[in-house]
């Protein structure tokens, strides 16, 4: 017995510590790297705390009932088979959950409205994020440059991602910086994000869009303002301009690696990946 117990304990400690080591540092949603993710995390922890009240209450009651009222031989006390209900108790467990919900919905609504606005007062950088299965294109209208499957942002400045799609819907998700939003064809969406520090964060598409969906991963590289300016300058001077061939490759169904362009071609026309095919043979 003793031996077993010891072994169990060491197994438990081992399991927990591997989880901690491999896990906690990497639970990215719980380690926000920007104001948006931080605000969302506040809501997550607040809601988790509220839910824990319910968990404790229900688990305690559950254990109490099971231990106290399990059928035992002999004892006839405390058995009231005809008990119908109890007005007071029932009121309590209707009202308390309502209070909990009020405590949750108020910060929820506040945050919902807050996230529509820029997360800080700095001058925003506009980046158009276009999903085209199965890749992400990031166009910088202010700078005229484009990156594919990676994006560079200045730290500490609000980023206004304008989401668009060629082909099916995807969802831009950079958990370290904040929650996601869908990119839909022909319906421009806006997602505000910001990074607190220079660093590299992982982003991906969170909405299934077919076979190549897993490949829609990209790095978000946050740079200090001066590094960022230098990078833009470097792209403008050294990267190639987008050719028509590049453009066709990018807008067709394909998986590509990272690319950089000093100039991009604005997408226009029907938003299927291959419009010609669409017109020719919808159905065969």
């Amino acid at each position: 017995m003793q031996f077993l117990r010891k072994r169990w304990r060491s197994v438990l400690i081992f399991a927990l510590s591997t989880l901690m080591l491999s896990g906690c540092g990497k639970i990215v949603v719980l380690n926000p790297q920007g104001p948006v993710a931080t605000e969302e995390l506040h809501l997550i922890t607040w809601s988790f705390g509220l839910m824990m009240i319910v968990v404790v209450a229900v688990f305690a009651l559950f254990a109490f009932m099971l231990i106290k009222y399990r059928a035992k031989k002999g004892s006839k006390s405390d058995y009231q088979p005809e008990q119908e209900g109890n007005r007071l108790l029932e009121t309590v467990w209707t009202v308390v959950p309502i209070l909990i919900i009020i405590a949750l919905i108020i910060p929820t609504i506040k945050t919902t409205y807050a996230l529509v606005k820029p997360p800080s007062t700095g001058t925003p950088v506009v980046i158009k994020a276009v999903s085209a299965n199965w890749k992400w294109m990031f166009q910088y209208p202010g700078q005229g440059i484009e990156t594919v499957n990676y994006v560079v942002i200045p730290a500490n400045r609000p980023i206004e991602f304008q989401l668009d799609a060629i082909g099916p819907m995807n969802s831009l998700w950079i958990p370290a910086l904040g929650g996601q939003e869908y990119s839909m064809p022909g319906m421009l969406m806006r997602l505000w994000l910001q990074a607190d520090h220079p660093g590299t964060y992982v982003g991906r598409s969170a909405n299934f869009s077919g076979r190549g969906f897993v490949h829609m991963v990209f790095n978000v590289i946050a740079k200090s303002p001066s590094d960022y300016a230098a990078w833009v300058q470097k792209v403008k001077t050294t990267a190639p301009a987008m050719t028509m061939a590049d453009y066709q490759k990018l807008t067709a169904q394909s998986v590509v690696s990272t690319m950089t362009f000093s100039h991009y071609i604005q997408f226009s026309g029907p938003r299927n990946n291959s419009m010609n095919a669409m017109y020719m043979a919808p159905n065969s």
Partner: protein, 659 residues
């Protein structure tokens, strides 16, 4: 010659895809031959036809639903295990992306529409008429129609695996990836048409049970005296009637896009892909309540029976069911908060979703207090019901967390969500139907399932379930999204995924043990001679097990909630066994005839569906014509009922020891 055969094999049977398909083909052929051979050897064809395929008896239909649900649980569970095998370790390439996409699509679709739904409807069929003191459902013939439409819908969906290829756009089948442009081929057609056929059957079930419960209750059973399971089915039927037509229309619209070149959902011609998401979830959210409310009903019966106590707060239980039903239609947008419909829209749907927690919480506390001052007996059925409370709570509370729109921006489409919906679907619906199965098994077959093996199955399944899905919450917060066919190492996801896979194997084992329990019970039955093995409270326990064809020799008189308990515990006298059937009150009983037509019409639906899937209109249109002829002939069928004579009733009741 050989060449062209191989070509056909590749085109229609996907022989070019290798050994997996060949093995499946071989297994399917062997199993079918085995079944045919066995039936022939045992000379059971006529029996099969007379007793089952043409039956309109709600009890037999219920049993067939449950058998089919078990088979589909097996199929969907295998899909689940394949998913878990693929995700066990990082960078796994056991499956390709194409195959993985098919597997999670069929897994989700089968589990919800062809496992959860029929299991629930099976239990409804078995219990509701017995609980309300009726001799069958209101429309027995329509009931058979419902079953066979479901059955052939499910069959049609399943054959996609070996003929033409499975759908691969997720169980949500969002346009445009499920549209003709991104998803050519027949897979999605299978999805659309098989769900359509099964869905018609479900609508009929909704109507049938609504009418049955409203019109066929025994004298004295007012609405507020109905057993809670019956209440839950009544409310569920109303949800079905309002929700399923939306699915019918939605599927039809996408079918027009795919088969006839319409553009309801394609951007290029002014269609609206997001309309699919809206329409789908306007059905889809009520749908999850369709599969959970009857499970709630089962828990109410089981908890009260095995606490040997009245249900606590009956009225509140009814009111909360109604509240959930209404709210279930006001929350669909929470499935796409991230669509960016605006802060006010998201705030509204956050709130409406959170509100559902209130009536649900009321129910949880009422179950807990049903045990208060009771005498809790830990049968297998009760174990499933008890395990439901903490496990479902975890699913429900994480659901409230998901309801907070800004937080959902971080959870959406991640494994956090996958964990949430499995916690509610498995700890709610699956635990519920298993609880109901152990509870009503004696009524279905006149024998109790073996409790010892059953408890093993319970513990294995329940613990493994937590092992499978608890880590998913964490891996979701680590950024893993759903529907990824593989993932890189180095993100810390690996260990969690491995634990999940081991858990999934455990769930598979639990399921096998349960099936073994059934097989064991068939060989070593523990007969239930009393008809009331659990000291039950509702009318189904007042008749012999298994229930005779006509259910009640004499329709009982109901004096309150828990009608049978009241008969056993009359106010003035000592409690004791209830008087057997009063011979003088036996009258000939009027029963519906069997009919082969529901089966035939459903076969025709199947053929028509298959034709439309392949766009073989020479097959599809004649199929539909046969359906129409079947319906037409049915309206001129006058001789569709018979009487059971008093002598025969007496004979049956004597054999059951009631006279």
């Amino acid at each position: 010659m050989l060449h062209s055969i191989l070509q056909i094999g590749d085109k229609y049977f996907m022989w070019n895809e290798g050994p997996m398909i060949w093995t499946s083909d071989a297994l399917i052929v062997l199993t079918s031959l085995g079944i045919v051979g066995l039936l022939t050897y045992l000379k059971r064809w006529k029996w099969l036809w007379d007793e089952w395929l043409t039956t309109v008896d709600h009890k037999k239909i219920g049993i067939m639903y449950i058998i089919a649900a078990f088979a589909m649980f097996f199929r969907g569970g295998m899909d689940g295990l394949i998913i878990r095998a693929q995700l066990a370790i990082p960078n796994n390439h056991f499956l390709t992306a194409e195959h993985y996409d098919q597997v999670f699509t069929t897994h989700g679709t089968i589990m919800i529409l062809f496992m959860a739904m029929p299991f629930i409807i099976g239990l409804m069929n078995i219990a509701v008429p017995l609980q309300i003191g009726a001799r069958d459902v209101a429309f027995p013939y329509l009931n058979a129609m419902s079953f066979w439409l479901f059955f052939f819908g499910a069959l049609l969906f399943n054959i996609s695996f070996v003929i033409g290829g499975s759908p691969d756009a997720g169980w949500t089948s969002y346009a445009p990836i499920a549209g003709p442009f991104y998803d050519p081929g027949v897979g999605e057609n299978y999805y659309l048409i098989s769900l359509q056929i099964a869905g018609i059957g479900t609508i009929a079930t909704g109507i049938n049970f609504l009418v049955t419960i409203l019109k066929m209750r025994a004298p004295g059973m007012t609405l507020m005296r109905m057993p809670m399971f019956t209440w839950s089915v009544l409310i569920t039927s109303v949800i079905i009637i309002f929700a399923f037509p939306v699915l019918t229309v939605t599927l039809a619209l996408l079918m027009f896009d795919r088969l006839f070149g319409a553009h309801f959902f394609s951007v290029t011609h002014g269609g609206l892909p997001m309309m699919w998401a809206n329409l789908f979830w306007i059905w889809g959210h009520p749908e999850v309540y369709i599969v959970i409310l009857p499970a709630f009903g089962v828990f109410s019966e089981v908890v009260s029976t095995f606490s040997h106590k009245r249900l606590f707060g009956y009225k509140a239980m009814v009111v909360s069911l109604v509240a959930i039903a209404i709210l279930s239609f006001t929350t669909w947008v929470h499935h796409f908060f991230t669509m960016g419909a605006g802060a006010s829209v998201n705030s509204f749907f956050s709130f409406s979703t959170m509100l559902i927690a209130v009536p649900t919480g009321v129910k949880i506390f009422n179950w807990l207090f049903t045990m208060y001052k009771g005498r809790i007996e830990f049968t297998t059925s009760m174990l499933w019901a008890l395990a439901f409370i903490p496990n479902f709570l975890i699913g429900g509370l994480t659901g409230v967390m998901l309801a907070s729109a800004p937080a959902d921006y971080q959870y959406h489409n991640s494994y956090f969500l996958v964990a949430h919906f499995h916690y509610v679907l498995i700890a709610g619906t699956v635990f519920g139907v298993f609880s109901g199965l152990y509870y009503w098994w004696p009524k279905m077959f006149g024998q109790k399932l073996n409790e010892r093996i059953g408890k093993w199955a319970f513990w294995i399944f329940m613990i493994s379930f937590n092992m499978t899905f608890m880590p998913m919450y964490f891996v979701g917060l680590m950024g893993m999204t759903r529907r990824m066919y593989t993932y890189p190492a180095g993100l810390g996801w690996g260990p969690f995924n491995l634990i999940e896979t081991i858990g999934a194997l455990g769930m598979g084992l639990g399921f096998v043990v349960m099936v073994f329990d059934i097989a064991y019970t068939i060989r070593h039955p523990e007969k239930d001679l009393t008809g009331d093995p659990w000291d039950g409270r509702t009318l189904e326990w007042s008749i012999p097990s298994p229930a005779p064809e006509y259910n009640f020799a004499v329709i009982p008189e109901v004096k309150g909630i828990d009608a049978y308990w009241m008969m056993k515990h009359p106010k003035e006298q000592e409690p004791g066994p209830v008087k057997a059937v009063d011979k003088s009150k036996i009258r000939p009983i009027h029963m519906p005839n069997n009919s082969y037509r529901p089966f035939i019409i459903s076969v025709a639906f199947f053929v028509a569906g298959f034709g439309f899937i392949w766009q073989w209109y020479w097959l599809g249109i004649p199929g539909l014509i046969v359906v129409a002829i079947g319906l037409f002939l049915r309206s001129f069928e006058y001789n569709d009922e018979h009487f059971i004579s008093t002598e025969e009733i007496e004979r049956t009741e004597i054999a059951a020891g009631r006279l």
